[in-house]
Structure formats: structure tokens, C-alpha cells
């Protein structure tokens, strides 16, 4: 994995600190070109991995890049699925069955075809595979070395004890997409324990890691124990700036205290901030 990875919250009006800031960002990134400009700036700073949700607009971004293969040949994506609000709104409007009908390609009520057969047999794992394929469609032709499951689904499945779904997701990502599976979570220690228990080896786990303990469920101390341990997992740190509550210098000083952290995910939109943050991260780890 690249050590420094650009996230997508700033493009899609996601700001966990301030609704007002997120509205301002929504206006700034109304046009796809605005997003592409930031990605090009990131590339100019030596950042070649973009971790993004499967928001519909990403399809426009990948379409643009698909037309310019030489220019973007080194650019990588870390897709994060599913885009929770798309499905949450669909479930509210259509119910669960209606949502499956709307988003699983093929006709789940037809007796032929993967979708119909899976639905009839209550083969949820095949239905999951179909949903994963639907989410991945926009990344065809792109490099996707790691594919993540979003935290709402990860933590929901964890809480419900649906172990088999995790194992199957991990295997499917490896088998079908020749990629590493990743898990985003608000509960890192629990996920590490679970992966160990289920035999998901050396998993990539992306979670909030920051100086003020924002969204580090359980306690900062517990997170630090895991990060300082020999446990076999590959941590990625996100929300290092605690959604803007921390200044970059002190934020990255904290995160880079843990050599076990393989990658740092951050969001920024100006070239100066991107460069500054990247430098802070790399310099911190080099200490």
C-alpha cells in the first residue's frame, strides 16, 4: 500500500465536524472537473492512491481516466463499498426487497440467471457477490489493489455476529478481483480480534486514529496497545485530524508514533495542504 492516501469526504459534502463546512464543500465540488483538479494536484505531490466510496460521481471520474490510460497508468483506487446513504435512502423508500431489486443487476424474480437463482435459494452470499460486482462496475479498467467494506456494514455485521459474510467477502475480493480485502471500522480492537478468530490473515483495517481519541471506541489506550503490539494486522489510519479539530502538525506527530501503521488516509483540497500533510506524514515516519 502507498503510505499516503487521499480520501474523498471533501468532495461529497462529508464533514464529521461541521455541517456548515460540508455545505461549503458541496458547492465547491459541484463540477467533476473540480474533483479531477484536486486528484491531479495530489498526483503532482506524489500521491497516487485515491480511497473513495462508490458514490455515483466516481463513475464520471473513472470514465474520464479510462479515456486517458497513459496519463493515469500509475493511479490506484481503494474502493469503499457500499455507499451507505444510497442504500439507506433506498431502504426507507423501497423497503429491503425493493432495494435489492433496484441494485442487484439482473432480475431477482426471474428463475434463470445468477440473481434469480440466488434469491430463490436464499443464497445471500451470492447476492452479496452480485452487489459487490455492481459496486465495482465503475472501477472497470482501473487499478484497485485494496477493496474495502464500509464501516456501517462492517460494524453492523460484527454486532450481528455474521462471521460467514466477512469470510466470504474477503475470499471473493481475493478470488474475483485479485485484490486485498480491507475493513473500515469504528471499533478497531474488536475487528482485529474477530479477523484473528475467523482466520482472515493479516487484514487491512482502516479506523480513526488521532490524538484526541475521536471515534476510537473503547479507549485510546486500547488502540495504542494494539498498535504497539505484534498482533498480525495492517492498520490504516483515518480521521487523524479528527475532522478538523486538530492542526496538521500535532495530528501527524501523534499518528507517526506508531510504525505499525502502514498507511495514512486524509482529506484535503488545496495543493498546498496536500503537500504539507504528505510531508508531515513521511517526515514523521522517517523519525
Amino acid at each position: 500500500m502507498d503510505r499516503v492516501i487521499l480520501g474523498d469526504n471533501q468532495f461529497f459534502a462529508v464533514n464529521h465536524l461541521s455541517d456548515e463546512r460540508s455545505r461549503a464543500q458541496a458547492i465547491r465540488f459541484k463540477e467533476d472537473q473540480a474533483i479531477l483538479d484536486v486528484l491531479d494536484n495530489a498526483r503532482a505531490c506524489g500521491i497516487n492512491t485515491f480511497m473513495c466510496t462508490t458514490h455515483d460521481r466516481i463513475a464520471n471520474i473513472t470514465a474520464y481516466m479510462r479515456k486517458r490510460p497513459e496519463e493515469y497508468k500509475d493511479f490506484k483506487f481503494h474502493p469503499c463499498m457500499p455507499y451507505a446513504h444510497k442504500y439507506a435512502n433506498a431502504v426507507t423508500e423501497l423497503g429491503i426487497l425493493g432495494t435489492l431489486k433496484a441494485y442487484i443487476p439482473g432480475n431477482i424474480f426471474a428463475v434463470t440467471g445468477k440473481a434469480g437463482i440466488a434469491y430463490m435459494r436464499n443464497d445471500y452470499l451470492s447476492l452479496m457477490e452480485l452487489l459487490v460486482d455492481a459496486e465495482m462496475k465503475m472501477f472497470q479498467g482501473m487499478q484497485t489493489p485494496v477493496i474495502f467494506l464500509q464501516n456501517v456494514i462492517v460494524d453492523l455485521l460484527y454486532g450481528l455476529g455474521m462471521d460467514e459474510v466477512f469470510v466470504h467477502f474477503a475470499e471473493y475480493i481475493k478470488k474475483k478481483y485479485h485484490a486485498e480485502p480491507g475493513f473500515i471500522t469504528m471499533n478497531m480492537p474488536r475487528l482485529v480480534d474477530m479477523c484473528e478468530r475467523l482466520g482472515i490473515e493479516n487484514p487491512i483495517i482502516c479506523s480513526s486514529i488521532n490524538k484526541i481519541g475521536f471515534r476510537m471506541s473503547g479507549s485510546i489506550a486500547e488502540y495504542e496497545d494494539y498498535l504497539n503490539s505484534d498482533r498480525k494486522f495492517r492498520p490504516m489510519a483515518m480521521q487523524c485530524l479528527a475532522a478538523g479539530a486538530l492542526k496538521p502538525e500535532e495530528a501527524m506527530e501523534y499518528v507517526t508514533r506508531f510504525p505499525k501503521i502502514e498507511a495514512v488516509l486524509f482529506g484535503a483540497s488545496s495543493k498546498a495542504h496536500i503537500q504539507q500533510t504528505k510531508d508531515l506524514i513521511l517526515r514523521g515516519f522517517a523519525r
Binding site: 461529497f12 459534502a13 462529508v14 436464499n122 445471500y124 456501517v152 460494524d155 450481528l160 455476529g161 471515534r215
Partner: protein, 337 residues
């Protein structure tokens, strides 16, 4: 260990089930839903017992507590049945379809000495709690006006077809969305809304129910304010609830992430400077044991479970307090133009 059972596995039901599954003192023992797709998924992938008949579930499983997470119309019979069988109950909001039903539930809970709670999760959000505290301590002086709002992209088409678009089931913006704001106002202002005026509840896309709620609200302590709620608003990504309070010495504005405090003079005893001060959710939220889509959801369940375990009950969302929201909902229905 507290044995828990859930009736209703929609979005909220699954969220509660997962959170309970993540709490170490709880055994997530059984669920009840009529949807066969979910039933089969749960049977296949979890150790949770599955039922389609809630009475059978309660009688066989004998849970310590039951979560009622079904359309509002079904709350009364399910909560009553659970309590009659000695179960503590967590009921999603609003408590019941009518005030009369709510009053019976309050009485039964008191009679049986059971822990009872309603899912008004905003009362567990750090920014709103800090706003409540600062208001009570007089930071903005005597309040003279408030404005409670909530906007979200729930109903954006004329389609309908779920319980939320059905008046008989408790659908509509007032019961589903505005209830949160009314309840939050009662909490933060430390009084109850007792009357309303100029209530206007238009349908925008829905056929049968209202999609927005606008009006003036009068509180028992004499304070007056406004409400503006619209669930057909696609300018926001998700439900955005906020409260503004104006006082003689300043202003308080809060949403789920940010608390803005305006004071006309330096207030060093509160750590506030003259002008605007900002406090963010990052510094106002205590950590929880297990976080699924928001600390406040875990915090409300942790409080409920803790009340059962220790007898130290957090009554901020009791049936009795929640009933006050049902009372003003009923008044607004009667008053609507």
C-alpha cells in the same frame, strides 16, 4: 447477562440488534420479524433465534428486555404485552399512536416497576447536552425565543408504499421527523411544549401524509418559539437536526456536530470570549464501548441496559417524559390548517 429480544428488523431494528450484540453485558437472544428474507438471513448467519410471532417469542424466550422497533401503530399492543410479561421495554419513537395509549403504557410501566425508555437519541448527543447545560447556567441570559429544525432527504418522490407514507400506521413527517425536534426542545429548554399555533403541515410529494411541519410552539414556562421540519429536502445528505436559542445576553446554536455560542461580553467563568465561540462534537462526546453509526445510539442502549443491571435508571427518555411529545403531536394534528 441481560437477555434481549427485538421486535422489528427494519433499519433501526438491525441497528439496535447489532449494538446490543456488541455490548458485553447483553445476550442478543431473539428477534421477531415477518419478513422472510431477513428471517432466513438471520437463521443462516447468526445464533439469534428467529420468530414471526412476537407473543410466542416473549413467552418462549422469556427475555429480560424487549426492544419494540415496529411501525408506531403496533407499539401499544407490543409494549403492553412485553410489560405484562415482566419485560423491561425500549420502544422506538414516538411512544404510541394516541395519547390515551401512551398514558396506559406509562401507568403499566409504573405499576410493574419496569425500566422503560423511548429512542429519542438526540438526548444523548454531546452538543445538545452542552447547550442544555449552558442554557441552564445562564450563559445567554433569559431566553426569549427558540427555533427547532430538521431537514432530510427521506421522501423525494410521489411513490410511497411503505408504512411511513401511511397515516394509519403512524407515518408522516410529524410523527417520524418532527417528533425528534419537539422532544429535543422539551429536553434542552427544560419545560414542555403545551400548545401550538399557526400550524401548517403541507404534503409535497406524499399522497396521504404531510411532508413538512411548520408552526409556533408555546411552552409551559412561558417561552415561545418556532418549528420547521421538512423530510423532502434533498439539499442535505442525511437528517440534520438543529436548535437555536436567543437570549438577552447572547445566542446558542447547535446541531449534531457543532455548538456555537455567542456572548455579548467575555465570560471567563465559562471559558468564553466575547463574540462567537465554537465547540465541536469531537470534544463533547464520551467514548462508547462499541460504535455503530453514532455514539449516541450506543449511549442510549447502554443507559437502558445499565438501568436494568444496576437499578440506577437514566430517566431522560422515560415513557412518561416521552408522552409529553405525543401530547403536543396530538395538539398539532388537531390544529393543522
Amino acid at each position: 447477562m441481560i437477555k434481549a429480544a427485538i421486535i422489528g428488523l427494519g433499519k433501526m431494528g438491525m441497528s439496535h440488534a447489532a449494538i446490543l450484540g456488541g455490548l458485553p453485558e447483553v445476550e442478543m437472544a431473539a428477534m421477531c420479524d415477518t419478513d422472510s428474507l431477513l428471517q432466513n438471513a438471520f437463521k443462516k448467519f447468526t445464533r439469534i433465534q428467529c420468530f414471526t410471532d412476537y407473543k410466542k417469542m416473549i413467552e418462549e424466550v422469556k427475555p429480560d428486555c424487549v426492544y419494540v422497533v415496529t411501525p408506531t401503530k403496533l407499539h401499544y399492543e407490543m409494549v403492553m404485552f412485553a410489560m405484562e410479561h415482566g419485560c423491561h421495554v425500549f420502544c422506538e419513537k414516538p411512544l404510541a399512536l394516541t395519547v390515551e395509549e401512551g398514558e396506559s403504557l406509562v401507568a403499566k410501566a409504573r405499576e410493574k416497576g419496569l425500566v422503560n425508555q423511548v429512542g429519542y437519541h438526540n438526548r444523548y448527543i454531546g452538543t445538545f447536552n452542552e447547550m442544555k447545560r449552558l442554557l441552564a447556567e445562564g450563559v445567554i441570559g433569559r431566553p426569549f425565543h427558540f427555533m427547532g429544525e430538521a431537514y432530510g432527504p427521506v421522501v423525494l418522490k410521489t411513490k410511497g408504499g411503505t408504512w411511513r407514507s401511511d397515516k394509519k400506521n403512524g407515518g408522516g413527517c410529524l410523527e417520524d421527523y418532527a417528533a425528534h425536534v419537539l422532544n429535543l426542545i422539551n429536553y434542552v429548554m427544560e419545560s414542555d411544549i403545551v400548545d401550538c399555533a399557526g400550524v401548517h403541515m403541507p404534503s409535497i410529494f406524499s399522497g396521504e401524509v404531510e411532508d413538512a411541519v411548520y408552526g409556533s410552539l408555546y411552552m409551559a414556562n412561558g417561552l415561545k418559539g418556532q418549528i420547521s421540519v421538512n423530510w423532502s429536502d434533498d439539499t442535505v445528505r442525511k437528517m440534520t437536526t438543529s436548535l437555536k436559542i436567543e437570549g438577552a445576553a447572547g445566542k446558542l446554536e447547535a446541531d449534531a456536530t457543532t455548538l456555537k455560542i455567542y456572548v455579548k461580553e467575555d465570560r471567563p467563568e465559562f471559558g468564553l470570549e466575547k463574540g462567537w465561540n465554537f465547540k465541536y462534537i469531537t470534544e463533547l462526546t464520551p467514548l462508547v464501548d462499541f460504535n455503530l453509526r453514532g455514539e449516541e445510539y450506543t449511549a442510549e442502549s447502554a443507559a437502558f441496559i445499565n438501568g436494568i443491571l444496576t437499578g440506577r435508571v437514566d430517566t431522560r427518555n422515560s415513557f412518561e417524559k416521552s408522552l409529553q411529545t405525543d401530547r403536543i403531536i396530538q395538539k398539532m394534528k388537531e390544529a393543522s390548517l
